[in-house]
Amino acid sequence: MLFVRCKECGAKLSASRCFEFKLAVNNLPDEELLSYGHRACSGCGAIIAVRLALKASGRDVIVVQPTGCMEVVTTPYPETSWKVPYIHVAFENAGAVASGVWRALKVLGKKTKVLVIGGDGGTVDIGLQALSGALERGENITYICYDNEAYMNTGVQRSGATPFGAVTTTSPAGKLSFGEDRPKKDMPHIVASHNVPYVATASVGYPMDYVEKVKKALSVEGPSYIHVLTPCPTGWGFDSSKSIELGKLAVDTGMWILYEIENGVEKINYIPTKRKPVVEYLKAQRRFRHLSDDIISKIQEEVDRVWERILKST
């Protein structure tokens, strides 16, 4: 493994970009296009993803959101947090609404960017069809899925993005259950198989990486997609001061992998020098606290297997 040092802060890097939060903050524009006063829980990872996305996009953007936490907490009539044009229509149609916005802009001869910011439910489950249509048609939109791994807005029900072993209100642990018994849907690869020019994963724990990816996504012609992990203190069960830490831990344990797929070519962005044991990530959250050692080692084995394959191929 080759390392370089960040020219600005000196951090040791295994990738081309600095993952340090300090530097990230320094490099971002001061202008806030998402106003304070929104109703997100304290420590909400998703609202950070929204705020940073707007720092990456600037003002010349139209935001489309499906129903979900971020829509609800930012638009309580007659207030709004959005200083850019914004539309919310329904839960399952953001891909289609964004297509309409983009086609209208095209007719009007405008270069304004179209940015969807949707939850995992609105993206990988009920919104999958409309999104698939938009991707397949090659609409010029950027779609960010903020993944808090459940339907948080309606009270933490499972989604197709809920990870193996997690407890939600519809996948409770009980005498016959250890919680969610299926692995997470591999949404970034589902998107990539639509032959789109740019797909990336990110974590709010590594904000600079995320912001750079949003910028890149917005700059490509055609559909682009970013799947960003956004820890949710309310749904996952951790102290609201720990969101960034958990976002990092997900990556550092290897449970969440940062990669890009550019024109079909996949590139791992960050290889943790020494992967931390998954138990550190799991035990930090109420939703995994019930897991037996058996299940935990099963999760560890699966993460090891995936990384072995990755390391072999790089």
Binding site: G95, A104, R137
Partner: protein, 389 residues
Amino acid sequence: MRDIVEGSRAVAEAVKLCRAKVISAYPITPQTHIVEYLAEFVANGELDAEFVRVESEHSALSVCVGASATGVRTFTATSSQGLALMFEVLFIASGLRLPIVMVNANRALSAPISIWNDQSDSTAVRDCGWIQVYVETNQEALDSVIQAYKVAEKVLLPFMVCMDGFVLTHTYEPVDIPDQRLVDDYLPEYDPPIKLDPENPVTIGPIADPNYYMEFKLVQDEAMNEAKRVLKDEDEKFGEIFGRRYGLIEEYRTDDADVVLVTMGSLAGTIKDVVDRMREKGKNVGLVRVRLYRPFPKDEIVRALKDFEVIGVIEKDNCFGFGGGALFHDVRSALYGKSNAKVIGFVAGLGGRDIPYWDIEKAYEMCYEARVKEVPDVVWIGVRDWFRR
């Protein structure tokens, strides 16, 4: 230009004349020809528009919502199952006050699945906040699409032009296709007061708590009432330019009529023939065709019907568990306290069942009977006798 064209073609010509900029639709019989013509116009460069080939009707209408909110004129068309799939977005389009125009090619709803004509699909969404017009001819379909954009963009409400599937969509009739110049004079460019624009950022589609929701709905209801007046005016102006007017309702030989039938859509054509025939045999019958169904032209209906002793409402839909169709209930409700007429609801033509002239004659006969004896409130006509038991 006068031409003999298919109903679907007449609609497509109207959309072209109105210069719709974003068109999005999903194929379903009997709507398909409309969007095929439009796709062809766009492919040939005859119509400068984006044609968005979506993966469902839910998405078709959602594309129109996004595009309309961004400030361009939009069009979609559907039918039956497709309209049902749009249900959620229908209410959002009207709640967001977007002047989208849709043609619904009326078709029966499944199950059993049927591709044939009735009006159960659009009458089922009568309260979704869209203006609804039911047309009798292909000429009226074309003209109504042009009027629809004008009215919708004035009152900021979506507009559904309902035309009977096959009976109109697939039938060739002589149609006058107006001059582009005249349509441009009648219909100015779409320039909404609020749109998605980085120069002036707005939030569209917020969450409204119980403190605010009702006012949104009240102004929406007021806009709906306003639409009635605006359609009346615009129909008048349309008449001055194009020489054709349709009104909100149409009265056919009702002045001296003993009994009257009420209907919507292309069935009116058949009924007018029956009226003429029966009158030759000394039976003075008449017809009222409801063109504007939502907002419901209550005053016009009361004025036209209140002095009749017996009124039959014949329509191609049914309200399960109440009996009779939606129009029957609406007519009866409009007349409540204003007239003592006996109103009979005739359910006919479901799932494409033919409505021959003798069934219409039977309906008129039953109206005559009702003047002298008790008849049921609701009668299904054209149903096999053995099935009735």
